[in-house]
């Protein structure tokens, strides 16, 4: 596409403004997105225990039957069975009820039991979502996921905001393609020395061009994931289903609909069904949902992670009364189609979880490159406006935010481990993050007259030391040691600790180099 000089100038302005107006929020979403690619590993690392037994390896059917006999029949509407903290089995019996936050949600009784003996470790009542979101070991990973998905803005507004950020990034990436006339040559740009304007441009070009396809992919899938349920489905429901969102959901999600039959019929043996589902899906069962437990029209769904070589996990459907296999459930629609394929591709492409740990580590690396692209782009933008006093203050803000966010996240991790020890991880995690942010803002104000280069080094050293000591603090607050982790197969603990040590080394390198230089100078004198 050949563009006139005026059009290119306008596109450069759009490229800059689309990213700059939302730069800080974009940076928050990108950095937390890079971290939460490993959210399952972070949860396992936070938990400090390795699952020694599979929750679904015990006599699941016996446990569910025993508990079903203890709960009122009206709570047999939906039964949800899943793994819980420390490899325990969680069983929830419930029925829809109006939630104080609006809409209907499942409300009922929840039990946590030892998968082998069936000894009940916990029992309680409440809404399903509230119970599942209160698992203490998820406090840290959930905080980071919420920050990435909705910036902790409640309701649909948070999703609109991150969706808008996705579109802004897509605009920046596509205009980046249009304004770069020599993309292939730019792939091999080397930074010109001297910390001049061209040096900043070289850095930004190099990071931006290499992560360009990934930027388009992530911004598109991210915008889709944010808008799909918050805006897309309500709009489609409004025009195509007369505003009936429930009917729109049922049509889009598909699945088997059984003819209503409330006749009491014992539900099939779940232990046998689990074995069959494992063979068919090629991967372990993560959860089971039973609709109309103990009735003739019962339907059982088993949820599985991705089998080796598969792009995404699968859901299988069985008739509850007979145990007959009904088929695989597509994410959307009643049969495989281009629409269902597209919708199914969005999640693995956004999370990078299609090729196990290897693909996710690639996603982490590319996410880090994109995060750097945002920061280098902002540096370039501010350097070009260095003569303007308003924009000059912006450089100070940029340095504070760029280092302040990872510092606040590290403080938040320390808060989580302390809170986990005292039994209040959710409050400690949030409060520690806020305290971290406040401390960084205070530091930035106190040291506002110190040169940027010194501040950069100070922040990098503080971050490096903070991350370096985090695995030690985890261990001291009851976490799994490396020896225990290796014996019990807790590789996630080793992985996240290694990520911490590598990041710490990268942050501390400039300061160590300076110390070494100073040392050699002193010896020379």
């Amino acid at each position: 596409m050949s563009l006139t000089a005026a059009a290119t100038k306008r596109l450069v302005a759009l490229h800059g403004w689309s990213a700059t107006t939302l730069a800080i929020l974009l940076y928050v979403v990108m950095l937390t997105g890079t971290i939460v690619v490993l959210d399952n590993e972070i949860t396992a690392w936070s938990e400090g225990r390795a699952d020694r037994t599979g929750a679904f390896d015990g006599p699941v059917n016996r446990h569910v039957e025993r508990l079903a006999a203890q709960v009122p029949p009206e709570l047999h509407d939906t039964v949800f069975v899943r793994t819980w903290t420390g490899g325990d089995l969680s069983v929830f019996f419930g029925a829809p009820r109006a939630h104080p936050d609006g809409g209907n949600q499942l409300f009922g009784r929840h039990y946590v039991l030892a998968p082998g003996s069936g000894t009940i470790h916990e029992a309680g009542m409440g809404f399903l979502d509230d119970i599942f979101s209160q698992r203490p070991e998820t406090a840290l990973s959930q905080f980071l996921v919420d920050l990435h998905v909705r910036l902790h803005v409640p309701g649909r507004l948070g999703l609109y905001l991150t969706g808008l950020l996705g579109v802004a990034m897509l605009v920046a990436a596509l205009t980046g393609i249009l304004i770069h006339k020599h993309i292939i040559r730019d792939l091999f740009t080397t930074e010109r020395p001297g910390g001049r304007m061209v040096s900043f441009r070289d850095r930004h070009t190099l990071a931006g061009v290499w992560s360009l396809p990934f930027a388009i992919l992530l911004s598109f899938t991210g915008a889709f994931l944010s808008f799909a349920v918050s805006l897309g489905l309500p709009v489609v429901a409004l025009v195509a289903f007369g505003g009936d969102q429930e009917r729109a959901f049922d049509t889009v999600l598909g699945g088997t609909t059984m003819i209503e039959d409330s006749k009491p019929v014992p539900t099939t043996d779940l232990t046998l069904l689990i074995a069959d589902a494992r063979t068919r899906a090629g991967s372990d069962v993560g959860a089971i949902e039973i609709h109309h437990y103990g009735r003739a029209d019962a339907i059982i769904e088993t949820f599985h992670g991705a089998a080796p070589g598969a792009l995404r996990g699968s859901t299988l459907e069985y008739a509850g009364a007979t145990g007959a296999f009904l088929g695989r459930v597509d994410l959307v629609g009643s049969a495989p189609s281009s629409g269902s394929l597209l919708a199914e591709l969005m999640t693995p492409l956004h999370f990078g979880n299609f090729g196990g740990l290897a693909s996710r580590l690639v996603w982490v690396a590319l996410g880090a490159a994109m995060t750097y692209t945002i920061i280098s782009g902002m540096q370039l933008w501010l350097r070009r406006r260095a003569d303007d006093p308003i924009w000059r203050a912006g450089e100070h803000v940029l340095v504070t935010v760029a280092w302040g966010l990872p510092l606040a996240i590290v403080v938040c991790a320390y808060g989580f481990f302390t809170g986990y020890l005292f039994g209040a991880p959710f409050a400690w995690t949030t409060n520690a993050f806020l305290a971290g942010c406040a401390a960084v803002i205070l530091l930035a104000w106190l040291f506002r007259h110190i040169p940027m280069a010194r501040m950069n080094e100070f922040y990098a050293t503080a971050l490096g030391i903070g991350i370096l000591l985090l695995p030690l603090y985890r261990l001291q607050t009851g976490g799994l040691s490396w020896g225990e982790a290796m014996v019990s197969g807790g590789t996630d603990v080793l992985l996240i600790d290694m990520v911490c040590l590598t990041t710490a080394a990268a942050c501390l390198t400039p300061a160590l180099r300076r110390l070494r230089r100073r040392g050699s100078l002193a010896v020379g004198e």
Binding site: F220, L233, V236, A248, T251, V332
Partner: protein, 112 residues
């Protein structure tokens, strides 16, 4: 022999000429409007109307899923187009035409 520009001027209706000169007179303002609110409204209209134009497919959901998937792409395209193009009246005509088409699809579906 008459110049081509003069010929095309004569063949363009007066209303269209006035419309074009009004837009050309405030290029920056109109570019902001087309790339800003107009782009969002058009993308929303596309998402709301395309379920009535696309085929449902084998799974019965293509017409519902594809507009939602396309929404961010369309929005982005509608933002970039007025910025990259020199001829703003043409963009105005295109956006008006598309808005009319999308509205027609929605109204047609409700009347059916």
């Amino acid at each position: 022999m008459m110049d081509i520009a003069v010929l095309s001027r004569l063949s363009t209706p007066v209303v269209a000429r006035r419309f074009a000169s009004a837009i050309d007179g405030h290029q920056t303002l109109w570019r902001w409007i087309f790339a800003g609110p107009a782009a969002l409204v058009l993308a929303l209209l596309a998402m709301a109307s395309l379920p009535f134009a696309l085929p449902a497919g084998r799974g019965g959901v293509n017409h519902l899923v594809l507009p939602v998937v396309l929404f961010p792409v369309l929005w982005t395209a509608f933002v970039i187009l007025p910025v990259a193009t020199r001829n703003l009246p043409r963009i105005a005509a295109l956006y008006l035409g598309l808005a009319f088409f999308f509205l027609l699809l929605i109204v047609g579906a409700f009347l059916r």
